[in-house]
Amino acid sequence: MDGFFHADMVAVILAGAVATFLTRIGGYLLVMRMKSIPPRLEAALNAVPAAVLTTLVAPAFFTGGPDVQVAMAAALIASLRLSSLPMLAVGWCAVMFMRYVFTG
């Protein structure tokens, strides 16, 4: 880890930045051209965030060790009553408990 920047990393970051900006301005440019989005397309687009993020959560749970699974389950239960920051805190406490107290 020497130096401030690595060329390949910077290239990926900047490409990611361009991709991100395209999503941010894309809907505006699109809606200025067409009057309405077909309902089924809209339903599919509406499902994007939950669908994408679920694919990051589910495998992490099923491939994680017992410590990770307990932490995620605890956070899920916490989420019934708490917002995302306390939920994160509960999960963190659970994983630290499993790693340092429960297993000795």
Partner: protein
């Protein structure tokens, strides 16, 4: 009436005031990103560059997660695009409230677009017909600037720690994503989409392998949503809490 070429102080600071709670709740995630970025092999400068140019927490964390897994660059960029895809809906839905902005104002406006910014813009826009650029800028900057500061703090701290497992940082990422997913729970088709995306991604993870499970699982959820009976006027406004 709002001035066109100068920032209206009153509007600006009203935006700052309204954005402050978002700034406070997003700050730990900025630090989380910085710490995770360093743990996955980025330098502090690279983490800051990413925060400054993307300014999109979930996609930054997804990108970092994939950096750590040594995945092809184009897949990382595509995944960042996929996670940020919802912004297309946001900028479409808020078009009526910002179309009076100048071209350069629009550039800044869409660069600063985040979930809470979208939600507040629509709320304010529906009440007043449109929003002022000054208000929008105040709301956006009070989130943007601290995001950079927290990234550097988190990265500096993470570099001191070394192994993220030691202090439990590794588990924060999936829980953070879970929190965002749950933030969308009032949307149409939430449960079927999550169920099918989750199941398909786990199957794809074990058969096709990473990182394809992300795209395959996401497409499965989108297809299902497109095939289910369409409810009129899905609620775009119920965005998740995320920066």
């Amino acid at each position: 009436m709002q001035e066109t070429d100068f920032v209206n102080k009153r509007e600006f600071f009203e935006g700052v005031r309204q954005g402050t709670p978002v700034c406070i709740s997003a700050a730990p995630f900025g630090a989380l990103f910085g710490a995770v970025a360093v743990a996955n092999g980025q330098t502090i400068a690279e983490a800051l560059l990413m925060s400054m140019t993307l300014f999109a927490g979930a996609s930054q964390l997804v990108g970092i997660e994939l950096f750590g897994q040594k995945i092809a660059a184009w897949v990382i960029v595509l995944s960042i695009f996929a996670v940020n895809f919802r912004h297309i809906l946001y900028s479409a839905a808020m078009a009526p409230f910002v179309r009076h902005f100048s071209a350069s104002e629009k550039f800044v406006t869409f660069f600063l677009l985040t979930d809470p910014q979208f939600a507040e813009t629509v709320r304010r826009g529906e009440a007043r017909g449109k929003v002022s650029f000054s208000w929008y800028l105040g709301f956006g900057l009070v989130i943007y600037v601290p995001w950079q500061v927290m990234t550097v703090l988190g990265a500096t701290f993470g570099k001191l720690i070394g192994d993220p497992k030691l202090i439990g940082i590794d588990v924060l990422l999936p829980i953070y994503f879970m929190a965002i997913v749950l933030g969308f729970r009032k949307r149409a088709n939430f449960l079927p989409v999550v169920a099918i995306s989750g199941a398909v991604s786990v199957i794809a993870f074990h058969t096709v392998g990473s990182p394809w499970h992300v795209s395959i699982g996401a497409v499965a959820g989108m297809l299902l949503a497109a095939m289910l009976p369409v409810k009129r006027n899905p609620k775009l406004h119920e965005a998740g809490q995320e920066v």
